[in-house]
């Protein structure tokens, strides 16, 4: 049982619902927002994804019996919101390629701009190829800088599982980025040659 699951199970009235819910919301919001951002690459859109996931939780809160951890549930929920959103966007492909990189499109005078853009695209694609559980664990390690033990506690998994999933994540990402790795080396050298 995680810290929040107990409260869900013993919740009695609407007041309790609200109090608990606010706590859950505020303690998870930023991490989930960062997570959603790696999918949709837009700050506002990322918030929409997280809000949508919380709306769904709100509807069920109190009736919901979450077998695993609430944190894992929320990550999974955001993951699916994002995938659904991207699926819809795919229909409007032209629009997608515009928004996706709106914030990252390097200017013309940015040296190596095209390569950087390609690399960013490759990293995004590589991340998209990770299965849900694997991606959540990778996210928590890479972008929330959590230790294996902390991740295991929050997701109510064994440390061994976190180890396996992290090994798997890096293995997949490396193989996906393999073609770009020499490029990465060049870019790194460039970066060290002329630090911005």
């Amino acid at each position: 049982m995680g810290p929040f699951d107990k409260k869900i199970a013993t919740r009695t009235g609407p007041a309790g619902k609200e109090g608990d819910f606010e706590q859950v919301f505020k303690s998870h919001f930023k991490a989930l927002h960062a997570y959603a951002f790696t999918f949709v690459k837009d700050r506002d859109l990322a918030e929409d994804m997280v809000q949508a996931a919380f709306c769904k939780l709100w509807e069920k809160f109190g009736d919901l019996e979450i077998r695993s951890s609430l944190t894992a549930y929320l990550y999974r929920s955001v993951y699916h919101e994002c995938l659904n959103h991207l699926k819809h966007l795919k229909v409007r492909e032209a629009h997608v390629s515009h928004t996706r990189h709106r914030q990252h499109t390097p200017t013309d005078d940015d040296p190596g701009g095209l390569e950087a853009k390609e690399l960013a695209e490759a990293i995004h694609h590589a991340l998209m190829s990770l299965p849900e559980g694997c991606r959540t664990i990778f996210q928590m390690s890479r972008f929330e800088s959590l230790k294996y033990q902390e991740i295991a506690d929050r997701l109510q998994l064994s440390v061994k599982t976190v180890e396996n999933q992290m090994g798997k994540a890096l293995k997949i990402l490396r193989s996906r980025l393999a073609a770009h790795l020499p490029l990465i080396l060049v870019l790194t050298l460039l970066y060290f040659a002329n630090p911005a």
């Binding site: 919301f25 960062a34 914030q103 090994g167």
Partner: protein, 326 residues
């Protein structure tokens, strides 16, 4: 993507632990041992390292303030002053109910489709006359543009078919299982006979060739013997018995239009159906002229009309797709 290391199986879990400083001293030692074993191993590990580094390149902006986000969330859900679960539950129930209905319907359709006993077999004759043998050996000649359907369990207890358009039935006698043909207006029940059903939009005709049949429109019933016909008029909603004075109705089965002192208007009406034509007779006395001859169905309509024109000295003219006899 190409992988440069088909020949090695890297201990990824161990390497990543080492990379992230999660390894125990013993694990770190093992990892280093592997990495330094061959240049390929070293290269693999450095690629993992770079992958880790650059996966962090995705620039993640500072996330919005959670207190502000909470306020936005509250406005999003504020429409519900009471716990929303009830309202939502009701909607959910509706969704569930709808889903159940859809599933049941789909299931029924699937069963209907796959269970040979419940499957409906439908046979259509498009542009040409079609010969159908029913499971009991009975023969049906289906006129063009007509449809015959019967259940997959035809013959198990009853022998029931449905017909739209026109068909000639030659039914194998079976004492305990009457044969039933249904049309939009009539139900024809027989034990073993041959008869013709012609189901039109506004009327239905049943002509008996051999044996006896029972015809009912739901209100009244008629018993027909050989060479008798029942005509149901949709306008009058009435069923009446008439005598048959030509074998014209049989044209699509015999391939001939047999006229034996048949009034011209009857022949013309049959030709209209057979050739999908629009022939009208302007003059009632011409329509009453009796004709005795046999035309073949595979003959072009023009040549039939030419013969009619010569025989009766009538003019036949064409206006658009309408043919006028006068």
């Amino acid at each position: 993507m190409t992988d440069h290391y088909p020949q090695i199986t890297p201990p990824d879990d161990l390497l990543v632990k080492h990379l992230l400083g999660e390894g125990s001293p013993e694990e770190d030692r093992l990892a280093l041992e592997w990495i330094t074993a061959t240049p390929d191993h070293a290269r693999y590990f450095s690629e993992l390292q770079k992958t880790w580094q650059h996966s962090g390149d995705l620039e993640i902006p500072e996330s919005p303030d959670e207190d502000e986000a909470w306020k936005r969330f509250r406005t999003l859900v504020s429409a519900e002053s009471t716990p929303p679960s009830r309202v939502i539950s009701f909607r959910k129930w509706l969704q569930v109910a709808a889903a159940v209905v859809v599933l049941l319907g789909a299931g029924w359709l699937v069963i209907k489709q796959w269970d040979p006993l419940h499957r409906t077999i439908t046979l259509s004759a498009a542009n040409q006359v079609r010969q159908v043998t029913l499971p009991d050996g009975s023969q049906v000649t289906l006129n063009a543009h007509s449809t015959l359907s019967y259940p997959g369990n035809y013959g198990a207890k009853t022998r029931t078919v449905r017909i739209q358009g026109e068909g000639f039935f030659d039914i194998v006698p079976q004492k305990n299982r009457p044969f039933v043909a249904e049309t939009n207006h009539l139900t024809v029940t027989v034990l073993g006979t041959s008869f013709n059903i012609h189901d039109r939009k506004h009327s239905t005709e049943v002509v008996v060739e051999t044996g006896r049949v029972e015809v009912t429109d739901g209100k009244s019933a008629l018993y027909l013997g050989a060479h008798e016909k029942a005509v149901f008029s949709g306008d009058k909603r009435q069923l009446e018995k008439q005598s048959v004075h030509s074998d014209l109705y049989n044209y699509y089965r015999t391939g001939t239009f047999q006229c034996n002192k048949t009034p011209l208007r009857e022949l013309i009406a049959t030709l209209n159906e057979a050739y999908q034509a629009h022939i009208t007779i302007e003059n009632a006395s011409v329509g009453a002229l009796p004709i005795t001859t046999t035309f073949r169905y595979d003959q072009p309509l023009d040549s039939i009309l030419a013969i009619i024109s010569q025989t009766f000295q009538v003019t036949i003219s064409q206006k658009g797709n309408r043919i006028i006899v006068q």
